[in-house]
């Protein structure tokens, strides 16, 4: 089922949670709502579910306006951040709940309920826990039971609020791959909320980046990562170096350095921010006249597959962060305190008036 969100606004007292947000979620896709806390992502998810009413705007399911319909009628599966499993019911009864509360006419027979629940528990690979209580489960198990429970009502939309937020790092990783595989199997239109960019980029088909109640960018994971539309997206998705620069006639000037940039040919000596990702910085031992600036290696952090360098620019007080592969690092044979030359391979420039 496709979901359209049209001009949704929502305030809580003086706090603007969502400001005129519009969004299309195509059928069968797995979408991530990504943003820092307080950006309105959970509110948007709850409005789509019908757990919250927007102040204005509409939610459209499959071309039909669902704004005024009750959460009961929307046929959404909702997975809560803290799972909200019924603590006084066994795992089996939790999953069976959605079937048991149906009106008598549409309620399946007991045998059918039992079959369906075990089928779902097998789907989440936890059939052996059917008689346990939620308090007896680990976080990851609870999460999967919550998902099985949400799927029991055969929802047309699956909504997940910070599905991996309360889990430790290892379980998180396993579970998000598992969710991705599950989605590939079931193809239910799914939306999940997260503040973890890595999670959003790894799991989702599409990423919606939110900030301060508005949408910054919508796109495929590689799109939002490689071509961030706004400085916010650039900073939020991964580490970044920020340079204060001036743009003049298609060239960005950072200290002594002049680099060509696209799309700013008409700019006349305009103040701008230039962003460079640490892995887009090249280090060499020889100056490459005009395309690199000198810096001193102030710190080397060589743990894991990537070596992180902290570099102090010689023409400014700014620190620059760079990431090298281990091979490159060995090739250069760098030590703390040595002089090197820094060359941004790829940079993205935003004129200052565009930034908040």
């Amino acid at each position: 089922m496709s979901i359209e969100v049209r001009n949704i606004s929502k305030r809580f007292g003086n706090f603007v949670a969502l400001n005129d947000v519009s969004l299309d979620l195509p059928s069968g896709e797995l979408t991530a709502l990504l943003g820092p806390s307080g950006c309105g992502k959970t509110t948007l998810l709850r409005i789509i579910a019908g757990l919250e009413q927007p102040d204005s705007g509409s939610v459209i399911f499959n071309g039909q306006d669902a704004t005024t319909s009750h959460v009961r009628e929307r046929k959404v599966g909702f997975v809560f951040q803290h799972y909200a499993l019924f603590r006084h019911m066994t795992v089996f009864e939790n999953v069976a709940f959605g079937l048991r509360v149906r009106p008598r006419k549409t309620r399946p027979a007991d045998v059918e309920i039992r079959r369906k629940v075990h089928e779902l528990l097998e789907l989440v690979q936890l059939d052996w826990l059917a008689e346990r209580y939620p308090a007896q489960l680990s976080g990851g198990q609870r999460q999967r039971i919550a998902l099985a429970r949400a799927l029991a009502v055969e929802p047309q939309v699956l909504l997940l609020d910070e599905p991996f937020g309360a889990l430790d790092a290892k379980v998180r990783k396993d579970l998000r791959r598992w969710l991705r595989r599950l989605h590939d199997e079931l193809h239910i239109t799914s939306v999940f909320v997260t503040h973890d960019q890595e999670e959003a980029l790894e799991v989702a088909d599409r990423v919606v980046v939110l900030n301060k109640g508005g949408i910054e960018q919508v796109g495929a994971p590689d799109e939002v990562y490689d071509q961030p539309a706004t400085p916010f997206v650039y900073q939020f998705l991964g580490n970044v170096n920020l340079f204060h620069s001036r743009v003049h006639g298609g060239f960005a000037r950072i200290g002594e350095l002049e680099l060509p940039v696209d799309g700013h040919e008409e700019a006349q000596n305009a103040p701008a921010f230039a962003y460079v990702r640490p892995h887009d910085i090249e280090i060499s031992r020889t100056p490459e006249n005009g395309t690199a600036f000198a810096a001193t290696v102030s710190h080397i952090h060589a743990i894991g597959p990537v070596v992180r360098l902290e570099l102090a620019r010689e023409d400014a007080t700014e620190l620059v962060e760079a990431e090298l592969t281990r091979e490159r690092f060995r090739e250069l044979g760098l030590h703390e305190g040595e002089q090197v030359f820094v060359k941004p391979r790829q940079l993205r420039v935003f004129l200052e008036q565009h930034t908040p």
Partner: protein, 299 residues
């Protein structure tokens, strides 16, 4: 670490010690004071009630219950409790549900109103009903025209009992429901449950022990209430006398054996209530502990 501990003065007595532990004599002194206090103010009076009640033998003790006035007092006390407890059960659930699960204007006012019976002296509570429903009261003439008797009759006693036991269930449930939040209810509704189904299948089972606890306290107070009931009752023997009022009348007539016999009944009720209360507390914490232990065993 152990070197430091052996230099500690308490360690010299040969016992292991923690930083917060007091010397032995201080501990024993404090425990003795506490026990003496308890004995003097709790155990001795309780024992006195039963010894006084049985002083003239079992026959007299038994006779004081079979006396028609005593029987009627017991019946009236039970009647008041049987009406007041369910009424406050329903009210308590409704109020706690509204306060814990929703945001609305005047919530604080409602909370204060629920606490009012705790703050007001029961005698004043009784007087309020006399002022409103009494012969000279606001509705007095209307009520007597329609031949409804509230004050100095059973309805007045029931009303006064309801008033003083108003907060027990609500006060017990509100913090519990607030702590549990609304996510489980939202989950239930999202899965298609009606409001009624959500209440019966999710909200109430989650607070069942707290609810029982509130009902036990409410019942104890309903049966033991003296002040408010005394004002509205009129002390008509065999008609508007509850058990606590009966005790007072007998005592004032120097009929000590019967007075203490009735008092022993109330005291037994209190003991049963305490036992039930401890059981509920034990049950809740045992359930909690069991779930925590099983959880930690697995990981």
């Amino acid at each position: 670490m152990s070197a430091i501990v052996t230099h500690h003065p308490v360690a010299a007595t040969g016992k292991s010690s923690r930083a917060t532990q007091e010397p032995v004599w201080v501990r024993w002194a404090l425990i003795s004071i506490a026990l003496a206090w308890l004995a003097l103010f709790l155990f001795v009076p309780l024992a006195a009630v039963f010894t006084e009640a049985l002083r003239k033998g079992l026959a007299v003790y038994w006779a004081s219950f079979t006396d028609p006035d005593a029987l009627s007092a017991i019946k009236l006390t039970l009647l008041a409790a049987v009406i007041a407890v369910p009424a406050n059960l329903v009210f308590g659930i409704a109020a706690a549900w509204a306060i814990a699960k929703f945001e609305f204007r005047g919530k604080q006012v409602l909370l204060t109103l629920i606490d009012l019976p705790f703050a007001v002296s029961p005698v004043i509570a009784g007087l309020i009903y006399v002022l409103v429903f009494g012969a000279q009261g606001w509705f007095g003439s209307w009520l007597s025209e329609h031949e409804v008797k509230v004050i100095f009759a059973v309805p007045g006693i029931v009303l006064a009992t309801i008033f003083v036991t108003f907060p027990f269930v609500a006060r017990e449930l509100i913090p519990l429901m607030q702590a549990q939040g609304t996510e489980e209810e939202e989950a239930a509704v999202a899965m298609g449950a009606s409001d009624w189904q959500t209440l019966w299948r999710v909200t109430l089972p989650n607070v069942k022990w707290g609810l029982l606890y509130g009902v036990i306290l409410c019942n104890a107070r309903a049966m033991g209430e003296f002040g408010a009931v005394s004002v509205v009752s009129g002390h008509i023997r065999g008609m508007t006398n509850t058990l606590p009022l009966h005790v007072e009348i007998l005592y004032n007539e120097y009929n000590f054996a019967a007075a203490f016999a009735a008092a022993s009944l109330l005291a037994s009720l209190a003991l049963v209530t305490l036992a039930l209360k401890s059981f509920v507390e034990w049950k809740t914490s045992a359930e909690y502990r069991a779930s925590i232990e099983e959880y930690s065993n697995e990981h």
